[in-house]
């Protein structure tokens, strides 16, 4: 099929370049209600995403038009030709500044194969089920429902310049709903887990924690209207917070005016009282479903520090936007590593604060820096007592706060993120119930 697509592309004289991403995905899925299997599913699919390019010149300026289309494996040659020709025709009117496509740069490095490699899917699925339900034996709470996806994905990128790269990776995804009833209303919390390595002990422990934290929600009182208070973000919210820094440091964000950051900027300001941020993108992070040796353009990836001690060192730049800004590409890397700060989590929690364990949906606006969310579970510490609370919301703006934020020196690992276990932000609005 790949040869057929390339042959059709080459027969169109208007096309000056192409990029094809072939993916094959094979999945096993199980859906549980309580401890019972409610449905099982399997999937075997094959996709071809094709981008065609047309270089042209107008008034002495060079442009590169492009258009992307999906070629389905069931398409006959007439359909393939129609899809490619339509894309090529449209590309002529996509008047984007010129950029070169990625050229071959020798051998690609690859992340370690991982423990799912060469797996027998059904054998692993049963082991995963056992690990998830290992500690589901509490009297007042446990797993309400759970969805398990075990995927093997083969990705193959070729382009007109000779790039030809492929790799295979595995991902285990678990959507977990836990509940707990402690006299009053039954409480519920949501948890998404994702791994590229099979580590049953870690999986069991994360599920156990998810169950036990639900117990806290079951006994939580209403969030008081605190006005402004120091807030400590934990778990998934920390990753989401640092995603703002990643997005703002992207060359594409700068080129599209979503970010005004410049290399050399002290992004937290010149008089920082708290911890300075150091953010590294590591394409080879262990146990991340996002680890890979090349990006979607076929650009070879290496670890790169984007922000060091609060200073933007370089842009996170894909091939196209690196060319536009005149900087060296880093390729598109999704794994983020953020260094811990000066203080321990215990020290950060020693003063009155609101520690948030779970939001309905912690939302960070990657353009404005506004953040907020409804509190599903938090602990309010008034200097004497630490009480679980629920309801209400927090809201603030990262840019207005990051000259004094504190990062715990203990780290957490959540699939494609490794960074502080806790982040303390001062004077955040807390709306109570």
């Amino acid at each position: 099929m790949l040869d057929k697509i390339i042959k059709v592309i080459k027969s169109n004289n208007n096309i000056t370049g192409y990029l094809i991403t072939e993916t094959m995905e094979d999945s096993s899925e199980m859906f549980f209600i309580k401890k019972n299997l409610d449905m099982d599913r399997a999937k075997s699919v094959h996709h071809y995403a094709v981008t065609v390019y047309t270089d042209f010149e107008e008034d002495g300026t060079c442009y590169k038009g492009s258009s992307q289309t999906e070629i389905h494996p069931t398409m006959n040659e007439t359909e393939i030709r129609k899809a490619i020709d339509t894309a090529a025709y449209a590309a002529r009117y996509v008047k984007n500044p010129y950029y070169p496509l990625v050229e071959p740069r020798g051998e690609y490095k690859h992340p370690a194969a991982g423990s799912f490699s060469g797996m027998n899917a059904s054998e692993y699925m049963n082991k995963i089920v056992k690990a998830i339900y290992k500690y589901d034996d509490f009297q007042n709470g446990g797993i309400n429902s759970c969805e398990i996806f075990l995927n093997r994905v083969y990705t193959h990128v070729v382009n007109s310049e000779g790039v030809d790269a492929d790799y295979e990776h595995y991902s285990c995804q678990v959507e977990l709903i836990t509940t707990w009833k402690e006299g009053g209303e039954e409480a519920e919390l949501y948890k998404w887990l994702e791994y590229s390595e099979f580590n049953p002990d870690k999986l069991s422990e994360e599920v156990r924690e998810a169950i036990l934290i639900c117990r806290e929600k079951a006994i939580a009182g209403n969030t008081p209207a605190l006005g402004k208070v120091d807030v400590i973000l934990t778990r998934e919210a920390v990753k989401e917070l640092f995603e703002f820094y990643h997005r703002q440091s992207m060359a594409s964000s700068v080129y599209n005016h979503n970010s005004t950051w410049k290399v050399g900027d002290h992004i937290q300001g010149d008089e920082v009282k708290g911890d300075l941020i150091t953010l590294t993108l590591n394409p080879f992070m262990k146990d991340s479903t996002c680890s890979r040796g090349f990006d979607g353009d076929g650009y070879p990836l290496e670890p790169v520090t984007i922000i060091e001690c609060g200073e933007l060192k370089r842009y996170s730049a894909s091939n196209r936007y690196a060319h536009y800004l005149g900087v060296e590409p880093t390729g598109s890397i999704q794994n983020m590593e953020v260094k811990g700060g000066k203080y321990s989590e215990k020290t950060l929690k020693s003063e009155p604060h609101m520690e948030i364990a779970a939001f309905s949906d912690f939302s960070v606006d990657y353009i404005t820096g506004d953040f907020g969310g409804e509190i599903r579970l938090a602990w309010y510490y008034d200097g004497k007592e630490r009480l679980p609370v629920t309801g209400g919301s927090i809201s603030g703006n990262i840019c207005a706060a990051h000259n004094e934020i504190y990062l715990s020196n203990e780290l957490q690992k959540d699939n494609s993120f490794e960074g502080p276990m806790a982040v303390k932000i001062l004077n955040v609005n807390v709306a109570g119930v």
């Binding site: 069931t74 429902s145 506004d370 409804e374 709306a431």
Partner: protein
């Protein structure tokens, strides 16, 4: 103009029927959903252009079988005469074979009635017939007119996208097919002054074609002006306020509160408080809420859902009383209720869940002017940004782009932004005191279940007056 049914699905039908027959030798129930969904998305911004296939394109099949105890599914996208046996073998060898130590829920075999139906929609201006050059040029012209409004615009994006959905559903007794086009057009304006950045957007959408671009063209000035005014906005001071929710925010409340809240697969899991409140008052008497593929002609209007159940119009709340939920086929079987045609999949590659289609509050009798005049101090909340459901705890989180301050029944010109609205669902809905007499639906975004399974839906309603907590 009638849209065209997928040739691929039409020619694949005999093969699919053979696959159903082949598998019926081993399974008491076999069905196949076939999908062929294409479309294009066009975008012109200050910094570039983009023409791509629509994000959620798909072409493939999902087989559902009753494995003797419950249901198993297999998704695939390669089919030919010589592959039929190997597909059947994959289903036999991979499905319904969990470890013996795992307990399994049981389901009855689906009983169907003979039905053969087809739905082919009309479209005013079929985007598939248009030259991409014309579309790009027109979007660029709107962009240029908008950019000319102010130097404060850092970037501005004008977009149009359409999706041509074709599906077939084949089982022992059902032979269904449908094909329709849905479209959306939007403008997104980012403005910057000193270190402050704000943005505003709006969209037009529906079971419509390229005519949506004319509609969005009329809005560009207002979108740009609002984005500039947002540069002077302040964050909301947390507290409880009287508000008027614009139709998109009314729709967001309907969607998050009693859309997700009555998805009946959540009833089966014991995850929805709504199950305990059927027949009880959950909203003010002025509140009536519809949900269903047949309830409106918009982004999620179809003949049949992804399990082959015909779409319906469900009255979820009638004058404040919670009447019923919305269900997929298997949840309805488990609960002993009639399926409502709400079994939807993100694509043929994903499981079907009970999902929303077109969700909206019905119109009331109040005049908007009277509603505005009734607010002593509060806000009009506009511009849907995001929402999150909590069917179990009945919490609600809605984030809106802005609030317009109202004092003594008039807009003061002051804006708050962003607006985080939270509360306890019945408190919010019981506080609805006025409902305007016209409704409007929007469907440019996506709806997830939890944090995945994204599908197109539409939401809307009239202007509603309520009391909410802003954060």
């Amino acid at each position: 103009m009638k849209v065209a049914m997928s040739d691929f699905l039409t020619t694949s039908k005999p093969l699919i029927k053979r696959l159903v027959k082949l598998l019926s030798e081993d399974y008491k129930y076999v069905s196949v959903l076939g999908t062929d969904t294409g479309g294009k998305s066009f975008q012109a911004s200050k910094t570039g252009y983009d023409v791509s296939d629509y994000m959620f394109r798909e072409r493939g099949f999902v087989v559902r079988v009753h494995n003797g105890t419950n249901y198993s599914e297999y998704s695939f996208n390669e089919i030919s005469e010589d592959k039929l046996e190997s597909i059947a073998e994959s289903i036999r060898s991979r499905l319904g074979r969990c470890d013996e130590g795992i307990a399994v829920n049981s389901y009855e075999v689906i009983e169907e009635e003979d039905i053969k139906e087809s739905f082919i929609s009309d479209v005013e201006i079929n985007p598939e017939e248009l030259n991409p050059e014309k579309i790009i040029k027109e979007l660029s012209a709107i962009r240029d007119e908008a950019l000319a409004v102010s130097d404060l615009i850092a970037n501005l994006r004008v977009a149009f996208a359409y999706q041509h959905v074709s599906k077939i559903f084949i089982s022992g007794k059902k032979d269904l097919e449908q094909s329709y086009i849905i479209g959306e057009s939007s403008i997104f304006s980012i403005v910057r002054r000193d270190n402050k950045v704000k943005y505003c957007y709006d969209s037009a959408s529906g079971m419509r074609g390229y005519e949506l671009v004319s509609e969005i063209r009329e809005k560009y000035r207002e979108i740009v002006d609002t984005s500039i005014k947002l540069l002077d906005s302040e964050p909301a001071i947390p507290g409880e306020y009287d508000v008027i929710c614009a139709p998109d925010i009314a729709g967001l409340i309907a969607h998050e509160a009693f859309g997700h809240g009555v998805e009946m697969d959540m009833f089966v899991k014991g995850r929805a408080k709504g199950a305990e409140y059927i027949g009880h008052q959950v909203a003010s008497e002025k509140t009536t809420m519809h949900e269903g593929a047949a309830a409106a002609k918009h982004m999620s209007s179809y003949l049949f859902d992804d399990e082959g159940t015909l779409g319906t119009d469900t009255v979820v709340i009638d004058k404040g009383i919670l009447k019923t939920g919305i269900s997929d086929l298997l949840s309805a079987m488990k609960l002993g209720t009639v399926p409502t045609g709400n079994g939807k999949r993100e694509s043929f590659e994903r499981k079907a869940y009970a999902r929303m289609t077109n969700t909206f509050f019905a119109a009331g009798t109040d005049k908007y002017e009277d509603m505005l005049a009734s607010i002593k101090y509060g806000y009009q909340i506009e511009g849907m940004y995001s929402g999150m459901e909590d069917p179990k705890g009945w919490g609600i989180q809605c984030i809106a782009l802005l609030g317009r301050e109202i004092r003594d029944g008039r807009f003061t010109g002051k804006l708050i932004s962003p607006v985080l609205m939270t509360g306890f669902v019945p408190d919010v809905l019981k506080s609805i005191s006025m409902v305007s007499d016209k409704i409007h639906l929007d469907g440019a975004g996506y709806c997830g279940k939890g944090h995945k399974e994204f599908v197109k839906t539409s939401n809307g309603g009239p202007f509603i007056k309520a009391k909410v907590r802003l954060g």
